[in-house]
Amino acid sequence: MTDSGSQPGTSPAQTSKQEGPWAEAEGRLSRALRDLGQTSWLVTVLSVVVALVVGAVLILGANEQVQGSLSYFFAQPTDFLETSFQVLREAYSSLFRGAVFDWQASSVERAIRPLTETMVYSVPLILAGLGIAIGFRSGMLNIGGQGQIILGATSAGFLGYALSLPVGLHVLLALAGGIIGGAIWGGIAGVLKARTGANEVIVTIMLNNIAIYLLAWLLKQEWFKQTGSNQPLSSSVDDSAQLFSLLGPGFRLHAGFLIAILATVFVWWLLERSTIGFEFRAIGENPEAARTAGINVTKATALVLIVAGGLAGLGGAAHVLGTEYRIAGGIAGSLGFDAITVALLGRSKPLGTFLAGLLLGGLRAGGVLMQAQTGTPIDIVLVLQAVIVLMIAAPPLVRTIFFLPRADGRPRLRKNRRRAQAGGADESASRESTLATASSGSAPTTTQEADK
């Protein structure tokens, strides 16, 4: 009963063959990643719904008017309900107006501007998110988006104001610099993992810190900043290196959004249609089988993080060359971590990541107006994000909340599943049933007959 592909790596023959507990832990991690990357669309959507509900509760909890009306809830409950409804409607409608379309705006230009703002916010999220998604698909948890973005932004920005080149060439060179900066940073983690087996989670986290301090140090160096001031802020990127505006003045939308679209298509092609992506996915799904099939796992592992870093670096570059124009210590904000959310929410698929990037960009853009207009703390947006991640990371939670059946068609686990795991003894049984379920699900015949 070792035949179900859905639960590899549980037989003792295999564990003994793997190299020690580390390898096994790695296997477990990549399996967990795979699960994370493959939650169903339904769970994803419902996670967002749950997040909005939790957000609603927090908005109400933080609102003074609601607090006031709740203090006499039992005397006059309608007051509370009315106030709550008003507050929520205002909060979420301003979130929408800030992110998509502002029907209260003074001009047409201002009315459609929110959507373009959403797109502006989404550019680095999409690009870095694609990098993270490639990692997920390849079984690697790349936490280093932050550092890779910083390196990309720093390289691109520096090339953007330190060189003077003709218009087209300058921006291309700066973008390339961003890609290379990020790729080097990702590559360090990749090579360390591939050559020494270092855990990429730890390495990339450390590289994030190094990147932050490296940038802080650079921002103290005259040769780097090229400004007269002693503030830790670089000079502005030359016009020739800026990503051109797509809609003209009054809008911040820039060519970076086109780059994000192209990158999405490219990543799709890379993962689904190229031999490199085939190797990436193979080592992500089952490195043992990949090695047995002759794939150079070491090389592919390093390459995954180089490509992922390059994409994150490109995100950082687009951020600097299209939006910020200057490098400051907080240039990456929380982009690197939001990108993880984006990749998770996008189920590690290119299109999904693109859409998730837009969604998170929208939350960011809308949050600004929501805060300004209704006084709702911007932190609510962070809570929404956090709840979404929580829900996606624990699909059973969502299924429980909405009384959904399990993804694999089995009924929701009752306590016996917990027991089974506690006992640690049902491997063969569960494999047996998973296989049987799977085969009976897809083919009309059952296992035994199909084998004849």
């Binding site: 035949d3 590899p8 493959q38 249609r273 190229s274 193979a282 089952n286 003894a425 047996e432 035994q448």
Partner: protein
């Protein structure tokens, strides 16, 4: 204690793993539960052991209905289970292992190891187990580890003992010892449920046999039934237990291994100075109990494990400098031991798995540097080969994990045999497969042999070795104990698998028959009547 199941049903979603199963295990009876992989045996036992709650039906102990909220309840009620994969912690001593999860304590919560130790000695003495309570688990042979598991169950006063595929990891001689132990336990009043798919053992040891197929009981019988009858019940049709094959027509030696030595990651010698020669059109089976270096030998041939000494020669070409990819391209066909970990990628489609080691070569890849996959070509080739190999599936675009093990293995074979092979190596190619698929795999291997390809098959199943081989090399602790013709008797092979050199094994076997071979002889005699 009497164990009784009445209409036990267990469903997972739309799939019914156990369908109204009823059976009774009398006190002091060895009751064999026979069925193919995937028939629902393990689910049923896990239900009895409290890991699953049955959806319908009831479990009775001594005519009292019981319901368990977990293995703890089952243990308390007197049910013990020895899993196929032992639940032991390698660095613990025997005493500690037995005490684990039970932990006799004195006042103030101090563990009473003395008491536990005495218990081990007492049980071990009662059944003549010969287990040192202070030995560390990792230092014990597999058979002894299994006895520790049994002691563990007995120390909790198990009246019903469930043994899940207990012989899978044992040499024939160790199996023999286990059979003796089972007999003693039965005589002392313990009821035993013996789960297996091995027909010979069932007939040698069981008092009664319940056969289940596709989750339901299809028959209850006695050990008097012949193997063919049992197999027929188990599979649901008539089966050939042996594959017909022409005698080998060996050609020149084309593949050889010379002085090969491989170390484990812990620098233990796992393959020890192995010499092998395989001729064209010949099947050499490497037999031995699991974990004696066969897997590592196969891996070294493939190139995912680097030998520290020795040479691997294919048609006079040294394979050492070649990468895995280059070896495969040079005409090595390789079927790995663990299909789900090494052979296929479960989440990949049938097509993707079919091209798993050819995806970057023409015609499956094109464009500059062969960087672009040609999906239509891949799909078409997969479709054609799947039909040739009779793979039953929904579509080539379905994840391979939705296929049964047998069909997955067919995809692996189809993949490996789609190239022009100069050498075919398969590790445990039929492990976990049903009878039908085993027949198919054997036929395919023999066809490859008949094309003149040298074949090396690693197998831990003596039946398979005898069925498939032209010659058998027995491996024990990394060394080749001997290379013998296929006419060698089971007893001799069994002794060799325990490390006894050929000549000595012949002498021993002449004076001492195992129970299994005795049962064989009796059966033969009966059939001849």
């Amino acid at each position: 204690m009497k164990l009784e199941l009445r209409g036990v049903t267990k469903r997972f979603g739309s799939f019914t793993a156990n369908d109204r199963i009823s059976l009774t295990v009398e006190p002091g009876e060895i009751h064999a539960l026979l069925g193919e992989n995937g028939a629902g045996k393990s689910t049923l036992m896990n239900t009895i052991y409290g890991l699953y709650a049955p959806d319908e039906g009831e479990i009775r102990l001594d005519d009292e209905p019981v319901s368990f909220n977990g293995p703890g309840d089952a243990v308390a009620a007197g049910i013990g289970m020895v899993h196929q994969h032992f639940m032991l912690i390698p660095v613990f001593t025997v005493t500690e292992s037995v005490a684990l999860g039970y932990e006799p304590t004195r006042a103030a919560g101090i563990m009473d190891m003395k008491q536990a130790r005495e218990k081990v000695l007492e049980i071990s003495g009662r059944f003549g187990f010969d287990v040192d309570p202070d030995a560390r688990i990792e230092d014990l042979p597999v058979g002894a580890q299994q006895r520790v598991e049994i002691i563990k169950a007995l120390s909790r006063d198990a009246k019903v003992l469930i043994l899940d595929e207990p012989t899978a990891v044992l040499t024939p001689q160790e199996t023999d010892e286990l059979i003796t132990i089972m007999g003693q336990l039965r005589d002392s009043g313990t009821s035993i449920v013996f789960i297996t798919h091995k027909l010979r053992e069932v007939r040698a040891v069981a008092d009664r046999i319940t056969v289940i197929r596709r989750g339901a009981v299809v028959g209850e019988t006695t050990p008097k039934s012949t193997e063919t009858e049992l197999a027929g019940l188990m599979v649901g049709r008539e089966v050939n237990l042996t594959t017909a094959k022409e005698p080998a027509v060996p050609g020149d030696v084309s593949f050889s291994v010379q002085g090969l030595t491989v170390l484990s990651p812990m620098d233990k010698v796992v393959v020890d100075n192995v010499d092998l020669e395989v001729r064209r059109g010949e099947i050499l089976v490497i037999a031995g109990v699991d974990g004696n270096g066969q897997s590592e030998l196969a891996q070294a041939i493939l190139g995912i494990r680097e030998p520290v000494a020795g040479r691997i020669l294919l048609d006079d070409q040294d394979l050492a400098p070649l990468s895995v990819k280059q070896r495969l391209a040079a005409g090595l066909g390789f079927v790995p031991e663990d299909r789900s970990t090494d052979g296929v990628i479960g989440a990949f489609t049938v097509t993707e798995n079919y091209v798993l080691d050819m995806y970057d070569t023409a015609p499956y890849a094109g464009g500059p540097g062969n960087v672009a996959l040609r999906l239509p070509v891949m799909r078409k080739a997969a479709q054609t080969q799947a039909e040739r190999f009779d793979v039953r599936m929904g579509s080539v675009d379905a994840p391979i994990s939705t296929l049964s093990g047998g069909n997955q293995q067919k995809v692996v074979l189809a993949r490996e045999m789609s190239r022009d092979l100069r050498l075919f190596v398969a590790s445990q190619p039929t492990r976990g497969l049903d009878v039908g698929s085993i027949e198919f795999v054997h036929r395919t291997v023999i066809e490859e042999r008949d094309k003149g390809t040298p074949c090396v098959i690693v197998s831990t199943e003596l039946d398979e070795a005898l069925n498939l081989a032209d010659r058998i090399a027995v491996m024990y602790r990394g060394r080749i104990v001997g290379i013998v013709p296929v006419t060698t008797s089971r007893d001799v092979l069994g002794l060799m698998m325990a490390g006894v050199p050929l000549e000595e094994a012949k002498q021993q076997a002449a004076t001492h028959h195992t129970m299994l071979s005795e049962a064989d002889e009796m059966a033969e005699a009966e059939e001849n009547k």
